[in-house]
Amino acid sequence: MERILTQHTGYDDQRGLAAARARGAYEGLRKALTMSPQEVIEETTSSGLRGRGGAGFPTGRKWAFIHPAADQQVYLLCNADESEPGTFKDRYLMEHDPHLLIEGLCIGAYAIGAHTAYIYLRGEYASVGAVVEAALAEARAAGILGPTLLDSSYQVEIKIQLGAGAYICGEETGLIQSLEGRRAYPRVRPPFPAVHGFMQQPTVVNNVETLANLPWIILHGGDAFARIGTERSSGTKLISVCGAVNRPGVYEVEMGYPLREFLANEAGGILEGRALKALIPGGTSVPILTAEETSGLTLDFESLQGAGTMLGSGGMIVFDETTSMPDALASIAHFYAHESCGECTPCREGTGWFAWIIDRLLAGEGRSNDLALLLRIGRNIEGHTICGLGDAAVQPVRSFITKFGAEFEALLPKTPDTRPDWQRHGHGPRTARHESPVEEAARSEAVSGPPTARL
């Protein structure tokens, strides 16, 4: 398989400009600058490249939405907020080949007519930011970045913005809000960022991995890229695999690679020779697959979509036969409860109820209609929020309960509950009077220190 993204990530000196250039860095940009911006967009469109952040939207089409008025400034924002649980591929790329991202950003900026680009990095990636900042400084000093992009008359400046700990900043309008120095409350669309984005200007937000594909596409042509992978998923994909496998890590595979083969070969098989129980293919925001469901699937957008889940971010989480699914779901539910930004009521309240109910089930205090209640809360969230976080929080809850029902039913009380609805549901997670045991423990423990920590 031809490697597009990880061709040079194995070299220790690849972070340095001289070594990277010796291996061909910035040659794609050099070629792009001999083309018109329109031609770069067309090449990218013909490559079939789809966004690698999770949604899979065609990159060329996203760019083609940009039509700035004469007095407007176009911005390119790189989404390096990588916070989807189980996802660590962008970090790997930036740490090992920062110039690949910078080159991709320059090509993208040139294509859409942006002179300023921002890399929005999650706050926890400050050390990654230092690596990218050093690479930027070298590129500036060498005259690649700045007023004369690689000796052309085009000007590009790239800045880094570090976040400060909020999952919602990975949502593109949340990212824009955060970059403007606001709470990262996602914006209602339309207007889309292509029209009213950063500072109300036309804006494109692209993921790190998406941008890193551009140098190869420009150098070898969109058609060559389209021949790799499957018909509707061209190119390769970085898969970050974690959980119950022998070799967790980041691997580049051709789109269409068999999932089971990936598990056995790249991931090194299931930990300690155990059996596979379940697998989440693209971060916790996509539905889980049972072991049986994974057979025959391939790693690409359409195969996983056909199985009722998504390729998502490529963050693969593997569960072996010893895993308690209700226990795993509790961990995931607490993530969404903590990271819901609070803007939309169904998500803010619903994610809290999810975590609270699953906790009480685990504590042996479940009520007989709790599983139905969880599904009902999910229906009340889905489709009723500004951004996708609410929908994302529903996917694990619904898929865990429906696919591993027996484990959840075993937690229900043995005697039927005949109390009226309002008594059976409880008072909810935000009422101190009825805290779950886990929350109570967390509260009594958090005597000092930041209020953010929770069990």
Binding site: S127, L179, R183, A446, T452
Partner: protein
């Protein structure tokens, strides 16, 4: 009177010169403040608001949104244990207890000498080293609780 170092104020003002708006510098300013003052309290909010020409409510509202910005002072060092799903599957719950033992405080707490704050954080993208631990801004990789203690003792 400035409650931030000259260096930090200079960095904020330099960022302001090239930023498209005063507020777009706020996140950077808040990060610098947290780093230097170890929290963003009332005094810090008022200082940044007047420095950037924003209202106290704007600064405070933004500061409270982000997890890394705290209202109460954190310890000199922060030990952050990931509570994401990958770490949960690979020994996260046991690691909480081990860290509690070597640090002497539980999640959300700061040691009495103000040296270390122990935090549980959401998935930090180090899932191949589960359970993942960070010391301040540094990923410690596959570290045991004893490794964390040793790193702290090294200063």
């Amino acid at each position: 009177m400035s409650i931030l170092s000259e260096r930090s104020v200079a960095m904020i003002e330099e960022a302001r010169r090239t930023a498209p708006s005063a507020q777009s510098v706020l996140l950077t300013a808040l990060r610098l403040t947290q780093e230097e003052r170890r929290h963003v309290g009332v005094e810090e909010v008022e200082f940044l608001a007047s420095l950037l020409g924003l209202s106290n409510a704007t600064v405070d509202g933004v500061a409270r949104f982000y997890d890394e910005l705290t209202q109460e002072p954190t310890g000199l060092h922060r030990v952050s244990l990931c509570r994401g799903i990958a770490c949960h599957l690979r020994g996260g719950p046991a690691m909480i207890e081990e860290l509690r033992r070597v640090l002497g405080v539980g999640p959300g707490q700061t040691t009495a000498d103000g040296l270390v704050t122990f935090r549980l954080v959401e998935c930090i993208g180090d899932c191949d080293h589960a359970p993942a631990v960070m010391l301040d801004d540094r990923f410690l990789g596959a570290a045991s609780a004893a490794d964390v203690r040793a790193e702290l003792d090294r200063g």
